[in-house]
Structure formats: structure tokens, C-alpha cells
């Protein structure tokens, strides 16, 4: 708006002096605005604080463009839409989103590697991929514009946590195919902060640089942050740290963990939510209120659906979170079912942002577990156990968190006919199973051999998991 006025005035050559004065006035206004923004810690006020009606208009328009784009450029989505008998003509407003097909994880996997890209490869400038513990990884392709959107939403995230160009960011997410490292890296650069691209691991070196370089912001997974906090304590260097804020994401964490991190490191700990399928970290972010994460709705449109009926839930109701990207070019995704359960908070936030907030993830609508940052499906464990003839297909997984580290115990019944008097053979069986699980899913599980028929049998759907971590808390 300002720029528009400015152009209009400068194009008008009636009185250059007045013109100059008016320009100066607007420039000053803009300057004050920037100062105010920093004070309010809002990176992109025009979008983050946009009126609801105006936002709706933006979403209407962007959804239409996206649907048009995928219909004409993605054979996958065109086929899906044709199956449902719809064309881009059917999508006029954001409410029409319910007519669109859902996308699920297996769709992305089936389209491995580039099947969901909606632009030619020459337009793709970056590739990322999920860890792919259940087989093929999910690949995400970004155009130049997609990357700029990503840096934009992360700059909003960091600004919302009170960071500015004067901060020093230590990026301790893993760099590489994982979206965490490079995502946060370019986001912090976009903010104008100084970035230390240290990646994950080598904790003592991390802390050394943290003290020497005077890092003020830390980006990593919350579980790694807890580990860093412990090592800081062991090294007794807390007083030397300048750390004031942490942005933690890529796995669910609780309010208790937040308190623990804030206390042990003397920082404010903010949650970042994101998925590789959507863009990576930065889909939604905490503000200083720490009460629900603001969704970047002008880029990612959220819905909450009932995972059973797939119908939209009433506002404020808990259900499965679904995202549609409405600005991405490289790999737009329609109605992606995250399988994460949460609810949306529509009440205006005291921070001044008008965007809708999502509650911390409250659970999963599938049985996926995240253990030490790795996605684990009970079915993977089952298939490993089935490979071993010596154990029965009866098992139970116990997940807990002890001293801030996830523990993972697998109880499995021995088969009576395979029981032997030889202790070392039995211990060896346990060792072999542990090694196999480690190689299949990438994390260590404690195998506990239990007596036949000691694991509870169920007549309905077997209850095979006990997760004592209470990662998901309902209010």
C-alpha cells in the first residue's frame, strides 16, 4: 500500500519539493514501522497480522493458483482429481478445499523419487529427503521460490522468538538431506543473523564454540538440546554462555521438557513444527506467548479432520491435522494427512499475530512412534521378530524416557520348542535380534525374552505399545 502511494506520488511531477518531503515522510514512517516491528518481533506484519477476511482472500486466490498448477503439471494430482470428477473450475474459494483429494505418506513413497514434482527438474534447485525408515524415503524438491518461502517462514519463526540480525545462530540440526539443518540455516541468514553451521553432534565442540563465539540462539532437536544442557552442566560453563533462546523441533516434546530446557540453559525454548512433505521446519512456530504455534497460513492451509470419517471437525475440535501448500511450486501437496492429532486455536493471540494457532501435537492417528528422533512403526519390529524362528509373533513395545533419553524395550516370547538349556545360546539370540533391529530401523532396542503366553492376548486389535513418555498432553 505504502509503496503504491509512493509510486503514485513520484510519478506525479507537479512539485518535486513537496514530492520529496512526502517521500521523506513515508520513509520515516517506514523506519518507525521497522523499529516497531522489531519491538513487536514480527517479521512480516502485513501477512502475520493480516485481517481474517483479507487472509481468506489471499488463501482463495493462492489455492486456485495451486490447484490450477498441479492439475496441469502433476499427472499424479490430475489423475486423482479426475477420479473425483473435479477440475480447477470447481475450486473457487478456500471452502472448496474439501472437494480436493487427500494425499498420504504412501502416495509420496509410491511416487519416489520425483513423481510428485510439478515443475521440470531444471526448475528444481534443491532436494531433501526424509529418513525413510519404512522403506523408500520421501523426496522433496524446491524451486528457487520455494526456498525463498522457506527462508521467509523461518525468519518469521526466529523473529517471533525475539531474534534479530544481531543474534548469533548455532544450527545444531543435522545438515544434509534432513530439512532441519539447511532450513534453519537459510532462515537465520534471511533474518540477517550470523550463522554457525555446526550441524549435530560433537557436543563438547558445540559448547566450546557456543562460549567462544557467544551464540545467542540454538537450533536443534529438543532431545539433543537436553543432551547439550547436560554437557554444559558437566563442563560447568553455563555462566560463560550468552544463549538466550532455542528453537527446537523435528520431534514432539512436552511442556515439562520446555521448562527443563529453559531452566537448565537459562533460555526461552520455542517449538517449531514442520514436515519434509510440506516444506520442512517452519510450517508453524511459537511466539513469545508460547501458547500454540502460529501457522503460516498464507503458505500452508490447515484443516482438522476426523481420521475415521475424513470429514472436517468443528472449529477447536481435536482431529488429524491436514495441510495444503498454497504457494509451493516444486512439490505442491494437496490435503496432506500428517497423522498428527491436534486442534486449531482461532482466538486472537495477545502477541498481535492474527494467524491461526495449532496446539502442541496431542498424539498420532496411526501407530507411529518417534523414538530418539527416529520414526518407528511397530510393524517393522514385528517383521524383524518374524525373521527369527526362535521367537513367537507375540511382542510388546515399551517406550519411556529416563534421564531425558528415550528407552526402547521390546518384550518377545520365546517359543517353547526353541528354548535351550544353553544360556549363551539364549543370550546370543537376544543379541542377534538387537543387532537386526538396529540395522533395520537404526536405533537400539533392549530385547527382553519373556515366557510363552505371558504377553497379554487380545481378541480385538492387539495393544502392542506402551508409551510412558507422555509426550502428548491434552489440556
Amino acid at each position: 500500500m505504502l509503496r503504491f502511494l509512493l509510486c503514485k506520488i513520484t510519478n506525479n511531477h507537479i512539485n518535486k519539493d513537496i514530492n520529496y518531503k512526502i517521500m521523506l515522510f513515508f520513509v520515516n514512517l517506514k523506519r518507525i514501522n521497522i523499529i516497531l516491528n522489531i519491538w513487536l518481533m514480527i517479521w512480516n506484519e502485513s501477512y502475520e497480522c493480516m485481517g481474517r477476511e483479507e487472509m481468506r482472500e489471499v488463501q482463495n486466490k493462492r489455492l486456485r493458483t495451486t490447484v490450477e498448477h498441479v492439475y496441469h503439471n502433476s499427472p499424479f494430482y490430475r489423475a486423482k482429481m479426475q477420479e473425483l470428477g473435479i477440475t480447477p473450475m470447481d475450486i473457487e474459494t478456500i471452502e472448496d478445499i474439501v472437494k480436493l483429494p487427500f494425499t498420504v505418506k504412501t502416495d509420496l513413497r509410491d511416487q519416489y523419487p520425483f513423481g510428485l514434482f510439478s515443475v521440470p527438474m531444471s526448475e528444481i534447485v534443491r532436494l531433501h529427503a526424509s529418513s525413510g525408515t519404512t522403506g523408500k524415503p520421501i523426496v522433496a524438491g524446491y524451486t528457487r521460490k520455494d526456498l525463498s518461502i522457506w527462508s521467509e517462514v523461518l525468519a518469521r519463526t526466529f523473529a517471533a522468538g525475539g531474534c534479530t540480525r544481531n543474534d548469533i545462530f548455532q544450527i545444531a540440526y543435522g545438515y544434509g538431506l534432513f530439512t532441519g539443518g539447511l532450513g534453519a540455516h537459510y532462515g537465520a541468514e534471511n533474518l540477517g543473523a550470523s550463522v554457525i553451521p555446526i550441524s549435530a553432534g560433537n557436543t563438547e565442540k558445540q559448547i566450546q564454540l557456543m562460549t567462544d563465539f557467544g551464540s545467542t540462539a540454538l537450533c536443534c532437536t529438543p532431545s539433543y538440546a537436553l543432551h547439550i544442557a547436560e554437557v554444559i552442566k558437566d563442563m560447568g560453563v553455563r555462566d560463560k554462555l550468552k544463549l538466550k533462546v532455542g528453537f527446537f523441533g523435528a520431534e514432539p516434546w512436552t511442556e515439562e521438557m520446555r521448562n527443563e530446557l529453559e531452566k537448565s540453559m537459562g533460555i526461552k525454548a520455542y517449538d517449531i513444527f514442520g514436515l519434509t512433505e510440506i516444506i520442512g521446519p517452519g510450517v508453524s512456530y511459537d511466539c513469545t506467548e508460547q501458547h500454540g504455534m502460529h501457522i503460516n497460513e498464507d503458505h500452508f492451509f490447515p484443516e482438522i479432520i476426523d481420521p475415521k470419517t475424513l470429514k472436517p471437525c468443528a472449529p477447536g475440535e481435536i482431529g488429524e491435522l491436514v495441510f495444503t501448500t498454497i504457494t509451493k511450486e516444486g512439490m505442491p501437496v494437496l490435503r496432506y494427512r500428517t497423522k498428527d492429532l491436534t486442534k486449531l486455536i482461532y482466538e486472537p493471540c495477545p502477541c498481535g499475530r492474527t494467524s491461526v494457532r495449532m496446539h502442541k501435537i496431542m498424539g498420532r492417528s496411526d501407530d507411529m512412534l518417534i523414538i530418539r528422533g527416529v520414526n518407528v512403526f511397530p510393524s517393522q519390529i514385528e517383521s524383524v521378530l518374524m525373521e527369527f524362528g526362535e521367537t513367537a509373533p507375540h511382542y510388546h513395545l515399551y517406550v519411556d524416557r529416563v534421564n531425558n533419553t528415550d528407552t526402547f524395550d521390546v518384550h518377545v516370547e520365546v517359543r517353547p520348542e526353541n528354548f535351550t538349556d544353553d544360556m549363551s545360546a539364549m543370550l546370543n539370540l537376544r543379541k542377534r535380534i538387537e543387532a537386526r533391529i538396529q540395522s533395520v530401523i537404526g536405533i537400539h532396542a533392549n530385547i527382553k525374552l519373556v515366557e510363552p503366553r505371558s504377553i497379554e492376548r487380545s481378541t480385538g486389535k492387539a495393544q502392542r505399545v506402551t508409551d510412558k513418555r507422555k509426550l502428548y498432553k491434552n489440556e
Partner: protein, 145 residues
């Protein structure tokens, strides 16, 4: 040929769970089964209880029925004088014949100790020891055990 010298031992898989051993011994007691000797070997989460008792075959069936995981295996049992150096004599014979012992258990109070020995090849073990002047506990002796 050496059958009377080979004794059946029951090995029972036990989860490391409070009360599991009590359950087992209660059951055996109720069924009138007497234990002559036993040993427990344990790992962090399970144990193997090895028992010599009055009627191994019936007991195996009984325990099976009650949900225990049981296997039978052959052992030999020797009388060893309860005096210094006696055991080493017996073991020396085995080691001279290159026979490795998997595990043993024993207890001595009176003149004579009884030692349970588990080796890989029980038949060979019996042959070797028969040529010495050591005495075996025979299956028929079990009631005097």
C-alpha cells in the same frame, strides 16, 4: 548301555519376575514332586532353572500344561569325597580327555558330595569316568539321593 548312569535334568525358562519362582515351587510341591538339586543361572531379564527331581518326564508334562517353558537334558552325577582335592581329581580326568564342562553344581555337607556335571557329550563323559574309580549316582539311586 550307560542309560542308568545318565540322569535327566529339567531346565526351566523363567522370566525375571517377582513371584515366578514361588509359583513354580508351589506347583511342584502341590503335585508331590521332590527336588534333589537345582541351580539358577540368570541374565538381566530371564533365568534358567536347572532341576534334578524325582520324576522328570511327568514333571515336564505337568509344567508344560501350566505354561512353563521346559526342556530335558542329560547330565551325569558323581559321588565325590568331601575332602580337599577330590574334585580336582575328577576334573583332571575330564580335561585329560579334552572334555569341556558346560556347567556344574554341587553341595557337600557329609562324607560325600554329589556333583552334577553337564557336558556336551554325556555318553563319552560316562565312558571316560567309568574307567576311573569315581562312582556315579544312578537313576535308581535317585530316591536315596
Amino acid at each position: 548301555m550307560n542309560e542308568p548312569l545318565i540322569i535327566k535334568q529339567l531346565s526351566i525358562f523363567l522370566e525375571n519376575k517377582t513371584g515366578r519362582l514361588t509359583e513354580l515351587t508351589q506347583l511342584l510341591g502341590k503335585e508331590g514332586i521332590n527336588l534333589y538339586a537345582f541351580s539358577m543361572s540368570e541374565s538381566s531379564d530371564f533365568g534358567i532353572m536347572r532341576v534334578v527331581l524325582s520324576d522328570p518326564i511327568t514333571t515336564q508334562k505337568l509344567l508344560d500344561k501350566h505354561g512353563f517353558t521346559v526342556t530335558l537334558c542329560d547330565i551325569v552325577c558323581l559321588y565325590v569325597p568331601n575332602k580337599p582335592g577330590a574334585l580336582s581329581e575328577a576334573l583332571l580326568i575330564l580335561s585329560e580327555h579334552n572334555m569341556a564342562v558346560d556347567y556344574m553344581y554341587a553341595f557337600a555337607m557329609d562324607e560325600i558330595a554329589r556333583v552334577v556335571i553337564r557336558v556336551n557329550d554325556v555318553h563319552r563323559c560316562v565312558e571316560i569316568l567309568q574307567n576311573s574309580n569315581l562312582k556315579f549316582v544312578e537313576v535308581n539311586d535317585m530316591y536315596y539321593f
